[in-house]
C-alpha cells in the first residue's frame, strides 16, 4: 500500500522518525516486563524451595521398610509408614465410593435437568460446601458418625469427610464439561428415539469423559492432602488396620504427628511422608493433564 497511515492522527509521518514519547514508552515497557518476570520468578522460587527441601530431606528417609513396615515406638530406629499409606488409599477409596456417584449425579442434575429454585438452591449449597473450612466438615462428621453412630474414631468417618470435600470440586468440574457438550449431540440421540436418560448416560457422559476423569483426579488429589478433618474422624493408627470402623492411619496425620515429635528419626520420616504425599498428588495431577490433553486432541 502506498499510504502508510500506521500512526493515528499523524498522517504519513516517516516511520524512522520516532514519536516524542517513544523513549519513555520503551522504558516503561522494559520496567513492567522486568517486574512481571520477577514476580513470576518469586512464585516459582517458593515452589521450588518447598519441593527441593522436601526432596532433600525426604528422599534419604525412604527405604523398603518405609513402605512396608508399621511405625515403631519412640526410641526404636526403623519401621515405616505403611499403615498410613494404606489408610490414605483406603479412605480415598471410601470417599470415591460415596463422592463420585453423588458428585456426578449432582452435576448431571444441574447441567441436564435443573432449572428454577431447586437448581439454584443445589448450586448455592455446592458453593457453600466448597467454601467450608475443612475442619468444620471434620467437626460435623465427628459429631455425626464418630460420636453418635460408630462410637469411636474410625476410617469410614474419615472417608465420608473426604467425600464431602470431593463432592463440590467434582460436581463443578463435571457440570462445566457437561455444559460444553454441544446440544446437537443430544438432539441427534433423541431424534434416534433414544430416551433422555439413556442419551445422558450413553452419549453425553461419554463425550464428557475426559472432564469426568479430570474432576475425579482433581478432587481426589485435594482430599488426599487433607489433615484437619481426618484428625477429628480417622484419628490415626500406628498399626495395620483393615477394619474401617476402627481408627485408621493416614499420611497427613502421620506427617503431623511425626513432625511435632522430638525424635530425629520420626522427623526424618515426616519429611519422607511429605515427599510420598507430594508425589502421590503430583502423579494424580499429571493424570489430569493427560486427560485434558486427550480431551482437547479428541474433539
Amino acid at each position: 500500500m502506498a499510504t502508510l497511515n500506521l500512526v493515528r492522527r499523524e498522517p504519513a509521518r516517516a516511520l524512522h522518525q520516532p514519536a516524542p514519547s517513544w523513549k519513555w514508552r520503551k522504558l516503561g515497557n522494559a520496567l513492567a516486563t522486568t517486574l512481571m518476570m520477577l514476580s513470576a520468578a518469586a512464585a516459582v522460587a517458593v515452589l521450588l524451595l518447598i519441593l527441593g527441601h522436601v526432596i532433600i530431606q525426604g528422599l534419604p528417609a525412604l527405604n523398603i521398610a518405609f513402605f512396608t513396615e508399621r511405625p515403631l515406638p519412640p526410641g526404636e530406629v526403623g519401621g515405616g509408614v505403611a499403615p498410613a499409606i494404606l489408610g490414605t488409599l483406603e479412605m480415598l477409596g471410601v470417599a470415591s465410593l460415596f463422592g463420585i456417584p453423588i458428585g456426578v449425579a449432582t452435576a448431571i442434575y444441574l447441567s441436564e435437568y435443573g432449572r428454577g429454585n431447586l437448581a439454584r438452591l443445589v448450586s448455592f449449597t455446592i458453593d457453600l460446601i466448597a467454601g467450608l473450612p475443612s475442619i468444620v466438615i471434620g467437626v460435623f462428621v465427628w459429631a455425626w458418625l464418630v460420636r453418635n453412630v460408630v462410637g469411636q474414631y474410625n476410617g469410614l468417618a474419615g472417608g465420608v469427610a473426604l467425600a464431602i470435600i470431593m463432592i463440590p470440586i467434582l460436581t463443578r468440574t463435571v457440570e462445566e464439561t457437561l455444559r460444553i457438550v454441544p446440544d446437537p449431540l443430544r438432539e441427534a440421540s433423541l431424534a434416534l428415539g433414544i430416551p433422555r436418560w439413556k442419551t445422558i448416560l450413553r452419549v453425553v457422559l461419554p463425550t464428557a469423559q475426559a472432564g469426568v476423569i479430570t474432576g475425579v483426579v482433581l478432587s481426589a488429589a485435594r482430599a488426599g492432602g487433607e489433615t484437619a478433618p481426618l484428625l477429628l474422624t480417622a484419628l490415626g493408627n500406628q498399626f495395620f488396620q483393615f477394619d474401617l470402623l476402627q481408627p485408621t492411619a493416614a499420611l497427613p496425620i502421620q506427617i503431623y504427628n511425626y513432625a511435632r515429635s522430638p525424635y530425629p528419626d520420626w522427623q526424618a520420616k515426616a519429611w519422607g511422608g511429605a515427599f510420598v504425599l507430594i508425589t502421590l498428588i503430583g502423579v494424580l495431577s499429571l493424570l489430569t493433564r493427560w486427560a485434558i490433553a486427550r480431551r482437547t486432541r479428541g474433539s
Binding site: L185, E187, S189, A191, L192, G193, I194, R202, Q209, G298
Partner: protein, 292 residues
C-alpha cells in the same frame, strides 16, 4: 379439535365421520394411501410463553414424496418440521399445540410416547452431528445399540445395508470399524448421519436444511440420495435454497413470518406449480427473489 370423547372407541372412524375444522389454507393434495403420510392440522408452536413461532400451520406430507418447506430465515420452517417428530418440545420451555397425524394417528395425543414417535419419524440436522466418542460403525448403529438386544452380527448386517444405501460403503469400508467419524469429510459425515437415521428403520425422514453446511458436490450427492430414498421413505425437507427445493421436491410449501414474527403457511402445492404459477403474490415475490 376432534371431539373424540363423544365418539369414543374406534378413533379412526371418528376421524372419518367428524368434519374437521376448515384450515386457513386448504391443502387438497394427492395422498398416497400405500405409505406413511403425515398431516399437520392447525399446528402452533411456542418457544416460551410469549414467543410464538408458528401459527395454525396445516400441511400434508404425502407418502413416498419429497415435500420441501421453503421460506426466509425466521419463518418457522425449522420449528414446524421439528414439531413433526416432537423434537420441538425438547427445547426447554418450548411447546406445540394442534394435531400432527401419522397415518391418521395423532402423535400429539396424550397416550403417545414421543420416544416412539422419533423412532418412526427420523430426523437429519443442519450440521452433521456424529457422536464424537464412537467409531463410524458405532455411530451408524447407535440407535439400535443403545436400545439393546441386538446381536453383533445383526448390527453389522444393518450397518452394512444402510451405509451402502447412502453410498458411503466404498469410501469407509476399510476403516469404519475403528475409524473416528471426525476423520470423514462434512458430506460423508452428513451421509453417515442419514445412515444412522435409516438404521432405526423410520417410515418418515425429516431433514432440517441438511445441505446448508456442505459444499456443492456434497450437496449434489445428498440430493441424489434423497430422490433415491423416497421409494422407501416419506421425506420432508426444510431448505432455504430454492434451487434445491425445485430440484428434488415433489411438493413445496412456502412459509412466511410477517411483522408479528409468527410463521404461517402461505401456500403449498406441487413444486412445479409453486415455482411457475403460484397463486399467492407473496410466494411469487419470494420465488423471484424480491425479498428473503
Amino acid at each position: 379439535m376432534v371431539p373424540s370423547s363423544k365418539l369414543a372407541p374406534p378413533i379412526s372412524e371418528a376421524d372419518v365421520t367428524v368434519p374437521t375444522p376448515v384450515p386457513p389454507e386448504p391443502v387438497p393434495l394427492e395422498v398416497n394411501q400405500d405409505g406413511p403420510s403425515m398431516r399437520a392440522r392447525e399446528l402452533s408452536a411456542w418457544y416460551n410463553v410469549t414467543r410464538k413461532a408458528i401459527e395454525h400451520v396445516s400441511l400434508e406430507v404425502p407418502a413416498h414424496r419429497i415435500t420441501a418447506i421453503i421460506g426466509p430465515s425466521g419463518c418457522g420452517k425449522s420449528t414446524f418440521i421439528r414439531c413433526l417428530n416432537r423434537m420441538h418440545e425438547v427445547i426447554r420451555g418450548a411447546r406445540a399445540e394442534g394435531h400432527v397425524e401419522l397415518n391418521g394417528e395423532d402423535i400429539y395425543s396424550a397416550q403417545v410416547d414421543p420416544v416412539r414417535v422419533r423412532r418412526v419419524v427420523g430426523m437429519v440436522f443442519q450440521k452433521p452431528n456424529p457422536f464424537p466418542m464412537m467409531t463410524i460403525f458405532e455411530n451408524v448403529v447407535a440407535g439400535l445399540r443403545l436400545e439393546g438386544g441386538y446381536s453383533r452380527a445383526s448390527l453389522e448386517e444393518v450397518a452394512e445395508r444402510v451405509v451402502a444405501r447412502v453410498a458411503l460403503f466404498d469410501e469407509v469400508k476399510d476403516v469404519w470399524k475403528r475409524g473416528a467419524s471426525s476423520s470423514l469429510s462434512g458430506g460423508q459425515q452428513q451421509r453417515l448421519c442419514i445412515a444412522r437415521t435409516l438404521a432405526v428403520e423410520p417410515a418418515v425422514v425429516l431433514m432440517d436444511e441438511p445441505c446448508s453446511a456442505l459444499d456443492p458436490i456434497a450437496t449434489y450427492r445428498i440430493e441424489e440420495l434423497m430422490v433415491q430414498l423416497k421409494q422407501d421413505y416419506t421425506i420432508a425437507i426444510v431448505t432455504h435454497n430454492m434451487q434445491q427445493a425445485s430440484r428434488v421436491s415433489d411438493y413445496t410449501a412456502f412459509m412466511l413470518a410477517e411483522e408479528d414474527r409468527i410463521g404461517r403457511l402461505v401456500e403449498c402445492g406441487p413444486t412445479s406449480k409453486i415455482f411457475t404459477n403460484p397463486s399467492e403474490r407473496r410466494t411469487e415475490d419470494y420465488i423471484t427473489g424480491r425479498f428473503g
